[in-house]
Symmetry: C2
Subunit: 206 residues, 2 copies
DNA sequence: GTCTATATCGGGATAGAC
DNA sequence: GTCTATCCCGATATAGAC
């Protein structure tokens, strides 16, 4: 999807976009250089001309995928906002970003579970320290007795992330279970964007 | 884990268990017949002697994995219980089962997202009709105004499943984010088994 | 920069001896 | 049933002409 753009677009870009699509769908192990070439409508040897190897190409793809999924969120988490407001906008923003890149979660999760080492360093260096203020803010609130059931921050955070990310990862199940087509799924996500921010606040804060 | 059993165990069983471990960790595409053979401590050609092909072996593995993860749950969902009780036990039972087979969720989700056709038929034939009564029960409750925010059944169900399954899939993220080792993760799950059943009821029913 | 041809290798699968 | 040797294909990667 996404193209049929007859506009001029460099071979390098065409390759990258094709690679992104294929890696996202099939994962590193399932991806075939030939399929990437076909989708980019170029000769297979061009892949190596521009990117040297499958590994290097993959590296580029997942770094950009992570960059696209994470930094915008992280900025939000570092702002000096009351927890309630931060929860609300975290859920809304995150859902909105993923909606635009709906195959990134399953891609990242797949690679993370299949080949952790390749990708873990990015998390450790880029994500952890930026999420820490948010975690601290929740821990603080919990100590002050403001969190439902006095849950520790880990539980609150995982509940948040679960409800935001999982629907995209579980899309195939969802579509079978509720006989949804792609349009139905999008409507389903829009509904989530609508109610989930307030819902999360309600289920988290006393 | 799980072995070092010096007891006699048939070659066929050793192969199956090794295959299960490798397929669960690496997925179909990432798995290597050689690695399975090594782990089972047998010769590679034995794999073909007993299971003909990688495809056939995989088929056996994922069918058993699904069988292990799903039927017990499904029975529960068909019982004639009040919704509140059903929610509570659904969450508790499901968490407990997955805790014993913690790598199954990411395995199933990976294959479902990577190669849907292979696995979708099972869901369609085995799962959907058995989950339907549960879905109907929730829809009914929603019509009667008993569900928080009057959420439709799809949203309720996905919220449930998300909170149950995602922590296992997201384990690598969790472990980085909260500097958890495996013991820490298990404690984290035990905590969920403890609070989540009631928590879910509270956030779902008025 | 783009193509064709080819090298190289890994991995699934089979043959056949024991 | 178990082993060794080998086949064969598919996939990454490179060489080299244009």
């Amino acid at each position: 999807m996404a193209d049929d753009k007859l506009e001029k677009e460099s071979t390098e870009e065409k390759i990258f976009e094709a690679a992104r699509d294929v890696f996202h769908q099939k994962g590193f192990d399932g991806a075939r250089m030939q399929e990437i070439a076909d989708r980019a409508n170029i000769n297979k040897s061009m892949l190596h001309y521009y990117y040297r190897s499958k590994d290097k190409l993959f590296e580029k793809v997942y770094q950009l995928s992570l960059m696209r999924a994470i930094p915008k969120i992280v900025i939000l988490l570092n702002k000096d906002l009351p927890l309630e407001e931060k929860l609300r906008s975290f859920v809304r923003e995150y859902l909105t970003i993923i909606k635009k890149n709906p195959d990134i979660p399953s891609f990242i999760i797949r690679e993370l579970n299949t080949n952790p080492s390749r990708i873990q360093e990015f998390f450790r260096s880029q994500v952890v320290k930026n999420v820490q203020p948010f975690i601290d803010q929740i821990s603080e609130a919990s100590r002050e007795g403001k969190i439902v059931d006095n849950l520790p921050a880990e539980q609150v955070v995982i509940n948040l992330i679960s409800m935001i990310i999982f629907p995209f990862i579980g899309k195939p199940i969802l579509q079978i279970l509720f006989e949804m087509d792609d349009a139905g799924f999008e409507a389903f996500i829009d509904q989530r964007i609508d109610y989930l921010p307030d819902y999360v606040v309600k289920m988290t804060l006393k």
